[in-house]
């Protein structure tokens, strides 16, 4: 069962920290060239999922499978994992300031990735680095090679990180909140950049974010997570046009719109995510306007049309 031809096939992935399951048996797939948005609020497990896929978690027990190009990322040996990390799979983290080594020039950091994974010599690595910098929009790339991270702005740092992540032409890019720490005008630039890179390089991307607006512009499909489980997954257009799960509906309604509804009270989702991980049955039930007796049993993902699934007994 090695994923049936898809680039990435995650099956029943579970991540547990002691007794708590931060991620509880989630499954999803990703095709080549597709961008999947993994959306949810704090504590839903989206970042944990990404970290689990490339095995960067400390002190966690990971179960299930994640088939990537015939290899199970959950079970594969550490040596092979190291080759894949940075090579076939690239990753972008949230805070650009801490993702780069503060004492090494940025040019050297990118070159290091190239030399490790592609075995390029110093000259070739330098040339490729300049090319990459140009591709990600770093002005005057030759001069920027010898700059330290603290001498660059947030947006510039993030561009360097993207350069590092795509240096070895990965087939899959994991982007964890890549624009959250940036100003909104810079965010637009970076999202534009990611979008074009994914398109031109036929690279697949998993974009992790809490911002549904970001997802709307860049992704082909969306998976919504809540308290460690995926509650809905659909093509982007369909998710926004016709959300099935009450959480997704509530989330979309509670986003302040720029074009309307300024003077009305904003619709809200009652309560807060509190110990939802420990609940048997549907985890969203305590906050759900549609909750009923049947919700005491955890709902599976049910189909609601082409490629559209939601985990809810009461959705229609």
């Amino acid at each position: 069962m090695s994923g049936s031809g898809r680039l990435l096939a995650v099956e029943d992935l579970t991540v547990a920290f002691g007794p708590t399951k931060a991620v509880d048996r989630i499954s999803f797939t990703l095709d080549a060239g597709e961008t999947l948005g993994l959306v949810g609020e704090s504590g839903c497990g989206k970042s944990t999922t990404a970290m689990a896929l490339i095995r960067l978690l400390q002190g966690a027990e990971t179960g299930g499978h994640a088939w990537f190009e015939g290899v199970d990322l959950v079970a594969v040996a550490e040596e092979r994992m190291r080759e894949i990390r940075g090579g076939a799979i690239g990753m972008i983290f949230q805070d650009p300031a801490t993702a780069l080594h503060p004492m090494i020039r940025v040019g050297d950091q990118v070159a290091e990735t190239l030399r490790t994974h592609r075995r390029l010599g110093a000259k070739a690595a330098r040339a490729r680095t300049i090319e990459l910098f140009r591709q990600v929009g770093v002005a005057a790339p030759e001069e920027r090679l010898s700059v330290y991270p603290h001498e660059m702005s947030g947006g510039m740092c993030q561009r360097v990180i993207i350069a590092m992540a795509i240096a070895c032409s990965p087939r899959l890019l994991l982007a964890d909140e890549p624009t959250t720490a940036l100003d909104v005008t810079v965010q637009a630039q970076i999202l534009e950049l990611l979008h074009s890179i994914a398109r031109d390089g036929a690279m697949s991307m998993i974009l992790i974010t809490h911002d549904l607006g970001v997802v709307a512009g860049v992704t082909n499909r969306v998976a919504v997570m809540y308290a460690g489980v995926i509650v809905e997954t659909a093509p982007t257009d369909r998710l926004f046009a016709d959300p099935k799960h009450p959480y997704t509906q509530g989330l979309l309604r509670s986003i302040p719109r720029l074009d309307s509804g300024w003077d009305e009270d904003m619709p809200t989702i009652a309560g807060a995510v509190h110990d939802a991980h420990a609940l048997p049955g549907c985890r969203f039930a305590p906050r759900c306007p549609l909750a009923a007796e049947v919700c005491r049993e955890a709902p599976p993902l049910r189909s609601f049309g082409a490629d559209h699934q939601a985990a809810c007994w009461r959705a229609s």
Binding site: G271, A272, H274, D275, P286, R287
Partner: protein, 293 residues
């Protein structure tokens, strides 16, 4: 009108209970606590517990070794019961230790806190004083001062306290420098709270951990320092007994009766080590990183 808030709050162990659980996991700390309690009780209830009066002479049984008839821990050069004297001396040594610790904690906290919170020239002045005093080894400083001061319980406690506050001042300074820019401090400042009130009500509860640890470790240190200067003759003066000056007398008699030196030495060691273990246990129990369970 208002959104109803989910009223169920998660059950959380209150911070104090959690800390004491962690403390007692540290075996040596728990043991240290038992020992200290025993020492304090024996000192406090000496008049009722001791087999003799501290000044009762028994010239017939001078230099009796421990476990001899009538003297569980032996007797000294004047036939006075060692166990009794240890208990009464314990009153002195332990109270000097605690009193000196109190002085250290109050002075150290005040200096560190005001320097950190007020900043400016006060900061510079106070920290330079601290740094200067740190240059002198505390024992020599103490002896120097002791030579000029008439020794009494109060003056000795004060002297010891005033030579040991610098490290705590530094630790507090570092912690408060960070806390100073916290928003909750800004909120208090904005509403007009004076500096002393902010330091006591807002900041102090957040630095209790280093203070408690420093308090126990400083008590151990103070007991040791008292025994140094009393042993050298500059501290507690006979006939009042302290563990330290019991050692002075015992020094000349060492070849005749080594037990006279070992007994007070043991008492000092027990007290100091126990306080140190308690300090270690407190440090572990109050360390925020370890309490993430």
């Amino acid at each position: 009108m208002f959104d109803s808030v989910v009223g169920t709050l998660p059950a959380v162990t209150p911070p104090r209970r959690h800390a004491s659980r962690l403390f007692f996991r540290h075996r040596l700390a728990a043991l240290g606590l038992v020992v200290i309690v025993a020492l304090v009780l024996s000192a406090a209830f000496a008049p009722w517990l001791s087999p003799y009066n501290p000044d009762d002479l028994d010239m017939a049984n001078r230099y009796a070794p421990p476990l001899s008839a009538g003297h569980l821990l032996g007797s000294d050069d004047l036939g006075r019961d060692v166990l009794t004297r240890l208990m009464y001396a314990g009153q002195v040594s332990l109270s000097v230790g605690v009193a000196a610790m109190a002085v250290t904690v109050i002075v150290g906290f005040a200096i560190g806190a005001f320097a950190a919170y007020l900043g400016g020239w006060i900061d510079v002045a106070l920290m330079r004083v601290t740094d200067t005093m740190l240059c002198f080894p505390s024992v020599f400083l103490l002896l120097f001062v002791a030579a000029f001061v008439t020794p009494s319980l109060a003056s000795i406690s004060l002297m010891i306290g005033l030579t040991c506050w610098m490290e705590l001042a530094r630790v507090i300074y570092g912690q408060i420098r960070v806390l100073r820019s916290a928003d909750f401090v800004a909120a208090a400042r904005m509403v007009g709270a004076p500096a002393w009130r902010i330091i006591l009500r807002q900041i102090l509860p957040n630095v209790m951990a280093p203070i408690l640890v420093a308090a126990t470790l400083n008590t151990a240190n103070a007991i040791l320092l008292e025994s140094y200067i009393s042993f050298l003759g500059y501290g507690i003066q006979p006939p009042q007994a302290s563990w330290g000056n019991m050692l002075t007398n015992a020094q000349s008699d060492f070849l005749v009766d080594p037990w006279l030196a070992l007994m007070p030495g043991l008492a000092i060691t027990l007290a100091v080590t126990s306080f140190n273990f308690i300090g270690d246990g407190l440090r572990d129990a109050l360390d925020p990183k370890m309490s993430r369970r």
